[in-house]
Symmetry: C2
Subunit: 506 residues, 2 copies
């Protein structure tokens, strides 16, 4: 509310201001409650003392020192409102006590996060209690809606709106560059937005950016999607869920990532984009975010349940995440690999995974009968229609649609790493691949990264080139090479069967 | 450790630095671990890449941009150490997962809090998880020791060292001004330190400060205690537990006050002062911090258990906290009341509570047989020895020992509040008393406060003066008076017995 300033003869050393009972009643300010008093950029927070005649209705009584701090004099108009931090502290206290927060409380919490009224100390407490106590289904739903509704909401003309999202954790996961054009080729709408890399060597947005711009406002994005049926954009400029960015900042300090927040973060963005059908890809395996079936199934059912509460039909695909998808890791290398796959020049995990995911989307969008989606997806890919659609999207986004895979610039410093052992590859270490890629310069140096010439199960001979490294600086290349002297990406094992000696009979 | 700078030709946009394997091994820095690089006031945190020959032993390789940020050149000496925030995040993560923290982990946590290396976001997470999950006995013990040992530790010449501490929550609780001289009169050592008011109208330190200085360094405090056997000092200057101040700051934002932290906060200060016997006063009643027997008993046993782990014999007295102790609230008014009680001019709750607490301390210190402590305490008080000891302490602290109660300056604006009802007083509202006292100017205006002329159970007639208000400004007095028009401190009730009409027999 707005109140007029009345300077009172009181000393500064106590944090009280005086508000008329009637004004307090209207704004539901209790005696002693903290209120924020603000004039343009100056503000402070003080306890409200309620009075009936010391200050009249429409006035706020404060000390002359405080008036000076606000750069104000008698009868100036001030903004007065309950201190959100105090209110939010009370909300958080209820959460800590194990109470279930109401929709209104969650809306206030998210509102406070967005306006910056809420201290990061409070966000930390919210995340910590969420990590320990979890949330109810309703709480996540409210949180998801609040996060979406405080950002940009986009409505596309054609329905149904399809979407696909991978929770990440596996290097080289550039499948969206194939699934989006395959699905859009069928006539469905698939406005795919992705993040840039946070901890991975290349986010989908980083890879696409090698071929075309990825940052668009809402109107431009709608044009692209209306004309081509799809897009491969960065979610950043769209400002879909501004609360999420601030939450992520605190999560990074705490090194925690509570599952309810992951759910809300992913689905709020999809909800803001008006998704009707959403396919979630959960890579599972050693070194991925999800390592076993039990966690994968639990996460899957949480995604579908929350989706249904939001009116989004969510389906989950659990995929193999124990080693990279395809063979390339790093923005330019991944863009090249995706182009080759669209040209039908590659087989293997990238193509197969993309066809699998596209098939499910085609079935969900009623373009293929149940069980026939994968066949249709393969047909679209092999016919070259997906490549044409991809070029259309790249062109609409302002890129060069006719770029050839071999024209994509890679890091000019290159080095081959050879195997120092023979045997069958039994394990590839995802986390070491990420480290090497980062030493090489990903995701910032677009041309840096690595090519794995072998995958798990392949036979490798001593001195075979197992990895090719690319860098944009000689120094980084050297560093990565040295790093690999001490850290082995591949684990090989001779396939000798173990022999058990028989019992010795005397 | 200290390493020499080697500028490497790498780009700035990635947060990595290069350390030789041998140096990393020595400092237990893992590949990818965050390290802080510091030169005088400049520092940053980056991921460590371990190398064997890119940088030699004793060197750290960083980009030229980073070198510039540090205002350094090749071969300059830099401080390099593991980033505490990252390490502490891992410790907190274990806490969140329900693991019990080790002594080393808690020492690191407290160390990080004190050096300011730890973000308040992490302190918030620690407090939140402690509030939800609690702590083990060992954890509180480690926390208490770490908090004490990172501050000033004081050792007095004479033992045993006695101490008394009230957890607060009841206005007018100036008993320490009586218990300390009573106990010191018996020949025991009782170096009492107290806080200033945080939310109350007057902390013990605020009351004593009306009569003498209260802020001393450790050496000066030892002199006072050696010469008189006691003191009534402020704990602030002593810097007994610097971690506590930073924790309190975050607790205020969160509005939580986890019990294990209360325990550690209180006992760490007593441990730092070398207490052998400690009496904890837990006021219990409506409006106090502890409202029922069950919580009081639980808190009591937690105090004694933790005390015993620290080698302090802790005894707990649960006292009545449903209404103020004595009749005066506010620094000068309380100092006057305490002086009158020491002169034997008062009876009632202040004298009785002080005698009760002193009796327990005399028994613990083997100056009285069990069951006889109270008699000895009363004897000491009535003999005038306690008053003499009090004067000695006030003199040693630099105050005027001969000040008379009527000479203590009170607020020059005074107003009587009359009862607008007759009846027996059934309830006195502690929280309203605190609010009125604060409006009157406590604890900053030393002469402000209030006198309650009646206590629960007293008979009051309409128009009797029930409260006397004191203020140092007319404005504040007026405000308090207005406030009392709408808020009633006293609840009175006519003592008519309820009549039940008999059943009507037709």
């Amino acid at each position: 509310m707005q109140l007029k300033l009345k300077i009172l003869d009181i000393q500064e050393n106590q944090d009280i201001v005086f508000i008329n009972f009637n004004d307090a009643l209207k704004e539901r300010i209790d005696p002693g409650e903290k209120v924020v008093i603000k004039k343009s950029d100056y503000f402070f927070s003080s306890s409200a003392v309620l009075t009936n005649d010391l200050v009249k209705i429409g006035y706020i009584g404060i000390s002359s020192e405080k008036a000076k701090r606000l750069n104000s004099k008698d009868n100036d108009t001030l903004d007065v409102y309950p201190d959100g931090n105090i209110e939010l502290s009370h909300i958080l206290k209820r959460k800590i006590e194990g109470k279930i927060l109401t929709k209104e409380e969650i809306v206030k919490l998210v509102g406070g996060i967005i306006t910056g009224n809420i201290d990061s100390v409070l966000i930390s407490s919210f995340l910590t209690s969420t990590q320990i106590l979890g949330t109810s289904t309703k709480e996540v739903e409210h949180l998801t809606r609040a996060m979406a509704e405080t950002g940009t909401m986009i409505k596309f003309e054609k329905s149904p709106v399809m979407d696909v999202h991978s929770i990440g954790g596996v290097p080289g996961n550039k499948t969206a560059l194939l699934t989006v054009p395959i699905v859009a080729s069928s006539g469905l709408t698939i406005p795919k937005t992705s993040s840039r890399a946070i901890t991975s060597p290349a986010g989908t947005a980083d890879v696409v950016e090698v071929l075309s711009p990825v940052d668009f406002g809402a109107d431009r994005l709608k044009e692209i999607v209306n004309s081509t049926g799809g897009c491969l954009a960065w979610s950043g400029v769209l400002n879909l869920t501004p609360a999420d960015d601030k939450i992520v900042e605190v999560e990074r300090k705490l090194l925690i990532d509570p599952e309810p927040i992951i759910l809300a973060s992913v689905l709020s963005k999809k909800y803001a984009m008006g998704a009707d059908f959403l396919l979630i890809d959960i890579p599972m395996g050693d070194g991925a975010k999800v390592t076993n079936w039990e966690s994968a199934r639990k996460l899957a059912s949480n995604f579908t349940e929350l989706g249904s509460a939001l009116g989004i039909h969510v389906e989950v695909a659990i995929t193999y995440g124990g080693q990279p998808i395809g063979n390339a890791v790093g923005p330019a290398l991944e863009a090249r690999e995706a182009l080759l796959a669209l040209q039908g020049k590659l087989t293997g995990s990238l193509t197969e995974k993309a066809i699998g995911l596209s098939g499910i989307l085609l079935e969900l969008g009623k373009k293929a009968e149940v069980g026939k989606g994968k066949d249709l997806a393969r047909e679209i890919l092999e016919s070259g229609k997906a490549l044409e659609k991809f070029k259309e999207i790249i062109k609409a986004q302002g890129g060069n649609p006719n770029i050839k895979p071999e024209e994509i610039p890679l890091g000019k410093y290159k080095e081959n790493i050879s195997s120092d052992d023979s045997g069958y590859i039994t394990k590839i270490d995802n986390s070491l691949i990420v480290k090497v890629a980062k030493i090489l310069g990903t995701p910032f140096d677009k041309g840096s990264g690595l090519i794995l010439n072998y995958k798990v199960g392949d036979r490798v001979e001593k001195n075979d080139v197992i990895v090719e490294l690319y860098a944009e600086s000689e120094e980084r290349l050297l560093l990565a090479k040295k790093f690999l002297d001490y850290n082995k990406i591949f684990q090989t094992e001779g396939m000798i069967l173990k022999r058990f000696p028989g019992l010795k009979v005397i």
